[in-house]
C-alpha cells in the first residue's frame, strides 16, 4: 500500500501539535491584523485632523453671544449665528416630523406585510432614493414647490420638504434592517397572547427595535442637519431670524457658514469656523442623547 503512493506515508501526529501550514496561516492572520490596524489608523488620521482644525479655528468665537445674536456684516467682529441656529432647528423639526413617521411606517409595511409586489417595488425605489443626490432633491423641490405647481417661493417649509426627502429613504432603509432583526419568537409570543397584528407591531416589534430605530433616525438627522446644497435652492438663506413657515427665505447654519467662509473678511471666516464647531458639537450632543434613549429603551423592552 505504501509503495503505491507518491508521497511518504503521514507519520502519526499527536493532536496537540499544529497541522501543516499552520505557520503560514498564522502569518496570514498576523499580516491581516497589521493591515486592518493600519487601515484603521489611516482612516482616523484625516478625521482627527479635521476635528483638530475645526476646534482650533472655531473655539475662539464660541460664547453665549454666538448662539443668541445675529451676524453683523462679515468684516465686523462679534455677533453670532442665532439666525442660522434658529433656522436649522425650525427646518429640522419640520423635516423630522415629515420623514421619520413615514419612514418607519414604510419599513413596517415592507417588513411586516411583505414580501409582495408592492413592498418589493417600494423597497427597490427606497434603495434607489438613497442614492439620489442632494442637489437634485433641491432642484426637484425648487421645480415643484418654489416655482412650479406650488409657486410658494423660498422658505422654511420648502427647505424642510427638501431635507425630509433626503432623510426619508435613510430612515426607511435603516428601520427596515432593524425590524428584520427582531426575532420571530417575539412576534409569535405576542400572537400567542392573543394580540392582533397591529398590536404586535406597535406594542412588541417597534419597542423591540426601538434602539435600532433611534440610531437609524439619528443617522438620518445627522445627515440632514449638515446639508447645504438643497437648502441653497429652497430655504435660500437669511441673516435674520425668520419665524414664518413659508414665504420668506430662511437661514440655516451650514448655509450661513458656507457663505461666511467665502467672504474675504477674517471676522466672518472665524465665525464660520465657530459655526462648524457648533454644528459638530450639536451632532455630538445629539448622538449621545440618541444613544442614551436607545440604551434605555433596550433595557425597558
Amino acid at each position: 500500500m505504501s509503495t503505491m503512493t507518491t508521497t511518504p506515508p503521514r507519520p502519526h501526529v499527536p493532536l496537540s501539535t499544529r497541522p501543516p501550514g499552520a505557520s503560514y496561516r498564522r502569518f496570514k492572520d498576523r499580516a491581516a491584523t497589521v493591515a486592518l490596524t493600519g487601515a484603521m489608523i489611516l482612516a482616523m488620521i484625516p478625521l482627527v485632523l479635521i476635528i483638530f482644525e475645526v476646534t482650533r479655528r472655531g473655539i475662539g468665537v464660541l460664547s453665549l453671544d454666538f448662539i443668541t445674536q445675529t451676524e453683523p456684516p462679515p468684516r465686523r467682529e462679534g455677533g453670532g449665528y442665532a439666525a442660522g441656529f434658529f433656522g436649522t432647528l425650525y427646518i429640522m423639526a419640520l423635516a423630522v416630523l415629515m420623514s421619520i413617521p413615514f419612514g418607519i411606517a414604510t419599513a413596517v409595511y415592507i417588513v411586516e406585510y411583505g414580501p409582495n409586489r408592492l413592498t418589493s417595488t417600494i423597497r427597490f425605489f427606497t434603495d434607489v432614493m438613497t442614492g439620489i443626490p442632494s442637489i437634485f432633491v433641491g432642484l426637484f423641490v425648487y421645480g415643484l414647490l418654489v416655482i412650479g405647481w406650488g409657486g410658494m417661493g423660498f422658505g422654511t417649509f420648502v427647505g424642510a420638504v427638501a431635507i425630509a426627502v433626503m432623510m426619508l429613504p435613510i430612515v426607511t432603509r435603516s428601520a427596515e434592517e432593524m425590524l428584520r432583526l427582531v426575532p420571530h419568537e417575539i412576534r409569535n409570543a405576542s400572537y400567542g397572547l392573543g394580540a392582533r397584528k397591529w398590536q404586535t407591531i406597535v406594542h412588541t416589534v417597534l419597542p423591540a427595535a426601538a434602539p435600532g430605530l433611534t440610531t437609524g433616525s439619528m443617522l438620518a438627522i445627522a445627515r440632514g442637519i449638515g446639508e447645504t446644497a438643497p437648502l441653497l435652492l429652497t430655504a435660500f438663506g437669511s441673516g435674520l431670524i425668520v419665524t414664518s413657515l413659508q414665504g420668506s427665505p430662511q437661514g440655516a447654519v451650514p448655509m450661513q457658514l458656507y457663505r461666511g467662509a467665502a467672504q474675504p473678511f477674517e471676522a466672518g471666516i472665524d465665525r464660520a469656523w465657530g459655526a462648524a464647531l457648533c454644528l459638530f458639537l450639536l451632532v455630538l450632543a445629539f448622538t449621545i442623547v440618541a444613544r442614551w434613549i436607545g440604551s434605555k429603551a433596550s433595557t425597558n423592552g
Binding site: P46, F136, R223, T287
Partner: protein, 334 residues
C-alpha cells in the same frame, strides 16, 4: 418563510379590551392600509421628481437631443427669457462626476471594509465603542467643512507633495500626466473618499455586527484563525450589506456638491489626466445656479435630470449585482 397566519381568529378569548369590540377587528386592516399608504409616498415622490424636473428641462432636451445633451462638449448658456438660445452639452460634467466618484469608491470601499472589521473583530473591547462612535459622528460633518479643510490644509500640505511624487513616478501614464494644479479630479476624489468613508464604515460595521455569533464560534471551534473567520465566514455573509454601503457611499459621492465644488477646479473642459481640473454635474449646478437666468436654469435642470439618470443607472446596476450574487450564495436577505 411563511408568516404564522396571524389573521386566523384567535381561538382563545383575548384579554385586551380593545379586541372585544368590532372596532378592534377593523383596526388591523386600517393599520395595514395606513402603513401601505405611507409606503407608497416614496413612489409618489419619485414619480413627481421625474415628471417635474424632466418637464422643466424639456426645452433643452428638445433642442439638443437627448444624446446630444449627454455627450455634447460645449456648454454656453443663453440669456433669453422665452426660448433656448445657448448650446448645452453636459459631457464634461458627467465625466467629472464619474471620475471623482470612481476615485472615491476605489479608495474608500476597501478601507471602509477593513476599518469595519478592525472595529468589530480586532479592536480592544474598550476602544471598539468610542471608535465606532467617532466614525459615525464624522459622517455628520457638513461637506462644507471638508471642502474648507481640504482646500486650506489638506491640499497644500498633503495632496500636493503626494501628487508630485505620483507624477514623477507615474507621469508617463496618461492618468498621471502633469501639470499639477493642486485642485482637480484627484483632489476632489480623495476628499470625497474621506467624506464617504464614515457612512460606509458605519453601515458595514452594523452589518458585520449582526452576523450571528454562533457561526463565528463554530468556525473558531474548527480551528480557524481570526483572519479566516473574517474572510471566509463573515465577509461572504455580509456581502449584500457591503454592497448597500457601497451604494450609499457612491450615491453620496455622485451627488456631493459643496466639497467637490471647492476642490475640483471648476473648468468646463475635461481631460484624461486625474490632475486636470474639471467640474462635476452637482458642482456645476451649485456653482452657477445662483446667478443663472431662466434659460440657464433650464439647462441646469437638465444636468440635474442627467445626474438623476446616472445615479439611477448606478443604483439599479448595484441592485442587480446584489440580487444575482444573492441568488448564487443563497443569501435570503437580498
Amino acid at each position: 418563510m411563511s408568516t404564522e397566519a396571524p389573521e386566523a381568529p384567535a381561538p382563545e378569548e383575548p384579554r385586551r379590551g380593545s379586541l372585544h369590540s368590532g372596532k378592534g377587528r377593523m383596526a388591523d386592516p386600517i393599520f395595514k392600509w395606513a402603513v401601505a399608504a405611507c409606503g407608497t409616498i416614496v413612489l409618489v415622490i419619485l414619480a413627481l421628481m421625474v415628471i417635474r424636473t424632466t418637464s422643466e428641462a424639456w426645452p433643452v432636451f428638445v433642442k439638443e437631443g437627448f444624446f446630444g445633451f449627454l455627450f455634447g462638449q460645449e456648454w454656453t448658456t443663453g440669456n433669453s427669457r422665452t426660448e433656448i438660445t445657448g448650446t448645452y452639452g453636459a459631457w464634461p460634467f458627467i465625466y467629472g462626476t464619474l471620475v471623482t466618484s470612481t476615485i472615491a469608491i476605489v479608495i474608500a470601499l476597501p478601507l471602509a471594509i477593513m476599518v469595519a472589521f478592525y472595529i468589530t473583530h480586532l479592536a480592544p473591547r474598550r476602544l471598539a465603542k468610542p471608535l465606532s462612535y467617532t466614525v459615525e459622528l464624522l459622517a455628520a460633518v457638513p461637506s462644507v467643512i471638508f471642502g474648507l479643510w481640504g482646500l486650506h490644509w489638506f491640499l497644500p500640505n498633503v495632496l500636493r507633495p503626494f501628487f508630485e511624487v505620483l507624477e514623477s513616478v507615474l507621469g508617463w501614464f496618461f492618468l498621471f500626466e502633469g501639470p499639477i494644479r493642486g485642485v482637480g479630479y484627484l483632489s476632489a476624489g480623495i476628499v470625497l473618499a474621506i467624506m464617504i468613508l464614515p457612512i460606509m464604515t458605519a453601515i458595514i460595521r452594523e452589518v458585520i455586527a449582526v452576523h450571528p455569533i454562533d457561526q463565528r464560534m463554530a468556525a473558531y471551534a474548527l480551528g480557524s484563525t481570526r483572519w479566516e473567520v473574517m474572510r471566509k465566514v463573515v465577509l461572504p455573509a455580509s456581502f449584500s450589506g457591503i454592497v448597500a454601503a457601497a451604494m450609499l457611499g457612491l450615491g453620496r459621492a455622485l451627488g456631493e456638491t459643496i466639497a467637490v465644488l471647492m476642490l475640483i477646479g471648476g473648468s468646463q473642459s475635461w481631460g484624461a489626466s486625474l490632475f486636470g481640473t474639471g467640474s462635476s454635474m452637482a458642482s456645476h449646478i451649485a456653482a452657477t445656479f445662483g446667478e443663472a437666468g431662466p434659460e440657464a436654469r433650464t439647462g441646469l435642470m437638465a444636468i440635474g435630470v442627467a445626474l438623476f439618470l446616472v445615479t439611477m443607472i448606478v443604483n439599479i446596476l448595484a441592485r442587480v449585482i446584489v440580487w444575482r450574487l444573492g441568488r448564487m450564495t443563497g443569501d435570503a436577505a437580498v
